[in-house]
Each structure stands twice: as structure tokens, then as C-alpha cells.
Amino acid sequence: MGLHRRTCYASDVSDAATRQNSQPPRHATLVRVTHWITVICFLALLISGVEILISHPRFYWGEVGNSLTPPLFKIPIPASRAMVPSGYAYVLPDQNGWSRYLHFQAAWAAVLTGFVYAVWGLWTGHFRDNLFPAPGDRTWGAFLRVIATHLRLRQPEQADAHSYNVLQRAAYLMVIFVLFPFVIWTGLALSPGFNSAFPAGVNVLGGRQSARTLHFFASLFLLLFLIVHVAMVFLAGFYTRMRAMITGTATAHQEPT
């Protein structure tokens, strides 16, 4: 299995001499920095998103929806507003002010970070080399083999410490090129100002309340990815994987068990 990696440190010619016997970093500096900024942003968006959701934990389909119209479904939690029929006798404290400020500030940080990452990834071939399935892996057979390995709870192959397997690549591509763009789109579709400039953005989603419901499900899928991602880091070796994403060090040490 070939390792499709390309050093991203072409300019660091002078550094190369001092790193002669060490390997190139597992993750490029830009990947590591944007990864952790995205982590902070995502957690901020998640927490503030949940707080905003608590003010009206009901979801609808179509253009309009409110406490007087039948919901598509409800989240069985108390609400932070007295006017919402939550089924609970008490009202949670209103946290929407700072939650909204945080949500939009973190969204800007995430979008700008994502933009830098996407431009860099296209420019350096990061997506082509590290995320697009390797030439030998572009078959259902290769895909199923990796799934089978996972289902048997086998330890990852040694090669996995230096490169992504096809299942990882598919998951990361899905998050980067489908879920993130979709969650941004459905979020923008909730902005009355943005809607006035680009009405099609909300209309093709089926209306404002459909956009809100889809925004919720997109976030839910991202949360699901986060849980699986963190679980896999633990299973594959928390120390080496964390070190690779923080310092970039590639050499795989045996985990002390």
C-alpha cells in the first residue's frame, strides 16, 4: 500500500538538514492549526446552538411554524420561554443573548478557517493526495474490506498511523465537502437579511422552517461524526493520534497498555 504523502514544507529547505533522520510530519502545520481552531469553533457552535434550540424545542416543515401550529416533532425538554408548550411546568433561564453572539462569532471563525484550509488543500494537493481515496482503494471491495476490519474490532494496520484508510477518507470528505457546506447553507437560510439578497437559498430548502429543521439534522450528523471520530482516536491509540495532531510527530510508538 503506497503512502500518498507530500511534504508540505517545501520552503523549509534549511530545516530539512536538521530533520534528516526524522520523518516528515504526520499532519502539516496548517492542518493541525485549522483542525484545533475548528474544534473550538464547533464546540462553541454546538453549545450555543443547543441554548438557542432550548428557546423553542419544536421543529416544523415548510415556511412557517410556531406554538399554534402542529410541529413535525418536538424535543422533550423544558423550554427557556414561557409561551412554548413544552409540557413542563417550569421555564429555563433565557441564555439566547450570549448564545447568539457566540454562535455567529464562532461561525465566522469556522468559515474563515475553513476557507483557508480549503484554498490550501486545493493548492497543495492535500485533498487529492490525502483525502481522495488512493488509486487502489477506489472500489467497493476495498471499502468493504476496511468496514470488515472495523467490525471485527481489529487493531488498525501500521500503515494507518501514517495515512488514512478509505473509510476515513470517505468520512472526512463527507464532513468537509457535504456536511460543513450544508450546515453553513441552512444556517444562512435562517438569516432574514441574507434571505432578502438570496431568496432562492431558503426557497429551495422548502422554506424557513424546513431550513431550520435541516440545520438541526446537519448539526446532529456533525455531532455523530465527532463522537465516532473521538472514539476512533481512543481505539487507535489516543497518545500517538493526539501527538500527531498537536506536534505533527509521525513515528508510531507502542501504546503503553
Partner: protein
Amino acid sequence: MSKISRRKFITAGLAASAGLSGLTAAAGLVRRYQLIPPDSGGFWGPGETLTYGAQRLLTRHSLAREFPSSMISQVPFANEIAPLNDSFQRLQARGFLDWRVSFEGLVERPASLSLSDLKVFPVRSQITEVVCEEGWSYIAEWIGTPLVDVLNACGLLPQARYVVYFSIQPDWWESIDMADALHPQTLLTWAMNGGDLPVSFGGPLRLRVPRQLGYKSVKFITRLIATDSLKGFGKGLGSASPEGGYAWYAGI
């Protein structure tokens, strides 16, 4: 001292000058289009400024979506309001005949108008959605007088940058920039769905700002002031919302 190659030096110089001219261009854009919101200070300032600035470049003249009459909500949802004060109740007892709304500040001819004075202006109606920051929404037909018509009749002065508007209820005031104040859909609303505007929806007079969240559409309007600065109003953050922890610009 480490050597700096000529290529690196030129590259860095080019990058620096590109960055500087980019910043200068951005500063010019910000000055020309006034892209800084009044609550741009503090920890949340960067996000708010990016949102407001980006949207003002995109949405200066854009129109809020309007809907066919078949989409008007059968039962619109009236959000809770604080108990109505004595002044309101006295006016309500006389059928709002004495309700007056004043137009002050940077206008050549300040005016105090009754509801029937407002109804002399050309009537406009729009079927738009009320969008609450909590997440719910409804569609209604809003009927009234475009704010821009009244401002022009009062002789709005060119140095005006904001319009501040007050409810008869205490501590309930907002402000909008001129892009929204002069916007054709910003409506001094006195009727809804073919009838008088119900008190629960802001009657007798509500300022509808359909390109922003519902909390900018203040109910029971009695006073509007055109101004070039928001410094003298409350804590200078633009409206009561930032003082209560909510963003001044609610176009999101």
C-alpha cells in the same frame, strides 16, 4: 544573522504591500458604506461587525421575501408582552383617537402625527414573515405607511445615519440605519390582515422591519428620532437590545 534571500525579501515585500493595500481598500469600503455597527466594541464586536458589514454590502437594497395571500398564517402567533402601562390604557380607552407619533431630530420640519394623519399618506401593504430569534415564524399581511414617505415629508436631513424609535412601553426602543429606515418595506404599520392592527400584534402602531428579526419590529410606536450618532441614546449601543445582551443588528 541568518541570510535573507533576495527572493524571500521580494516575496515578503510584495505580500506586505498587498496586505497593506488590501487593508486600506477595506478601510475605505468601511468608511464609504458605514459598515461598523454601534455595538462593535467588546468581545462579540468582531463577529457582529463582520455580519453587519457583509450584509450591508449584500443587502443594501434587497427586498424581504413577499408571499401569496394563500400563505398568510390562519392563526398568527402573538408573543407575550409586558403589562401595558397607564398611558397606553388611557389611549386605548378612547379608541387610540389621541395616539400621536412624533418625528424629531435631523428633520427640517418635526411633526407629531395622529393615526389618521398617517393614513393620509399612500397606503402600502406587504405579505411578509415575522421571524423570531427563538425560531418560530408566521406570515401576515401588514398594512401601513412606509417610513421613508413620512421622513421625506418631514424633510430628512442628509447627515442622518440612524432612526431611533420608541415604544410607549418603558425601556423598549430600537434603532435602524438608513438602509433600513429608507427601505420601501419598512412600514409604520397600523393594520393587519385587512383589519385594525390588534394590540397583541403591536396595535395601534408598530414599525415593521421585515429584513430583521421580530425584536426590531417594536410595538406601540410613539416617537422616532433621526440622528447622526447613537451616543446620546441609552448606553450608546444603538438600542435596548444590546443593553439586554442581544445584538443591535438582527438581520443576522
